[in-house]
Amino acid sequence: MSAIFWKEMADHFGRRRFGLLFGLIITGILWGAFVLVREVDGSSVSVDAFLFLQIFTRSSGGLPPLLFFIGFFGPLVGIVLGFDSINSERTQGTLSRVLAQPIYRDTLFTGKFLAGLTTLVLIMLTLMISILGVGMFVMGLAPRGEEIIRLAGFALVTTAYLGFWLALAMTCSIFFRNTVTSALVALGAWLFFAIFVVALIAPLVADFFVPQDEIASAEEYLQNFNINLWVARFSPMTIFNEAAQTLLDPWGTRGARSLDLIAIIAPERLQGLLARPISAAQSLRLVWPHIIVLVSLVSTFLVASFFRFMREEIRS
């Protein structure tokens, strides 16, 4: 397993496409720095300001929050690392040679998955640590313990989320022998979940059951909203966004759609709720189901791949 792992790691970092990934990291860092300089106000230091978290959650002058960048482009990194992992070996003629060596087939697959995941984690940590570094430089402050806990939780959620896209892409690489087909299917899934489910299908379904024009009461509005939310949750992107918001925004002030809504329909409830930020432990408890969902999606893809791959005929 370790032989495959290190070979794949060397591949990921040596290949030309790593330039693309590196470009994404740089973009992310610049994005964070931009938000930081323009929006985050280091002069009014209060205990509950969570300045380092704000770098990820604030939008600035038309630029969406960094969180959006990670949620939207992170999947691309997973897909780039995984879409040709098995089928390129097949096309190259190396698959039958590798599988003629004394290793199990699942070892090859697992080794490749772990190498991809490690690469993803390294990319993500590079991005986060660089941004924190820039933040410390600009603000002259160090992140507090709670901010670090929340960021660690966010890193965990992001790992599971990126792992989902890697597993999806690798599954495509087993089911589709042509690398181009595999890439297109993986990218199609990305567009489907990122745009169609969240922006089109979810509102459509919600309007079907509770037409927006006929909404008369707050209850109906809430119903419409809930349907919308539950359909949108079929997209891992929604799951990721919810979890990340919860972790990075202890006040529940920015972007959290459910809280925006509460503010509209029941402002009196909001006041009590937001008198104090939620504790890190509470936030982690809230996102636990999200992590479980993402991890079980990853397992589902891995199991499907194993079943297909284990009994497949390997022709050269």
């Binding site: 032989a3 190259q92 003629g93 190396t94 039958s96 040679r97 003629a100 290793i103 005929e313 022709r315």
Partner: protein, 309 residues
Amino acid sequence: MSDALIDAQGLTKRYGQFTAVDHLDLQIQEGEVFGFLGPNGSGKSTTILMLLGLTEPSEGHAQVCGFDPTREPLQVKRQVGYLPESVGFYNDLTGKENLLYMASLNKIPRPAAEHKAAEFLKMVDMTDAANQLVGQYSRGMKQRLGLAEVLMKDPRLVILDDPTLGLDPAGVQWLLQLIQEMSAQRQIAVFISSHQLQEVQRICHRVGIMSHGKLVLQGTVDDLMSQLESGGYLLEIEVSGGDGLSDVVKAIPGVQHCEAHGSRLVVQASKDVRSQVVAAVAEHGAGLLELRSHNSTLEDIYLRYFQEN
């Protein structure tokens, strides 16, 4: 339980209605070079895949080095080197790095692997190209690298799937000689599949001929000859002043057929009639310019067999 390296019994592979390999029985002994011959699509590669556990047999079973390739693939793969039909390498690694990666999959410690890689690269005359990217290799070089690679794990058995495919004649000669030396020096059994009979038969102790998924003939080249010799002997002679000679030759006992093409006579006989023919030519007063006896090569056997069907 036999002590054969490969022992296949009733091995069958079906794809839907199509039977690719049909109840194949096959034994290969230790140290033997076995030529597994047949036209394309006769089930050679499928048989090899089953022997390596890369596909499951529909029926029957095989034992390779004493293990079932479907149930204990790792035991088999530890002892068997396999060179696939269209051999591929990691193009962005050098030849040596490719060998070292395969060695690490076999859990060969790094220093030993380096040593072996150097040794086998030298053997296949690739030392100079060892640090070139495989992407720049020619087909022949890749084939040689493949041969070096299967030796890395000190195999008891090497399975080569059409190793001569796409090589020029000189390359074929060289590769086959290398295979022969390798087998003799290291006591490695070689299972070599090919459709190039002429070349391959020379290095084989035994051959088997596949046709439509069945092993139709099996034995030493000489055995196969005698099995098929019933077809008779073929002589070709060239004479000067041989008018009317064909009638004389036809009268020789055992000659079945004689045909004159200008100064050439083609004689078909049921036994060896060379001396009688020479005597007849001398008696007739003609000058013998050339006499050629067509010894059956494996290709003749092969072609004849398939013509018979």
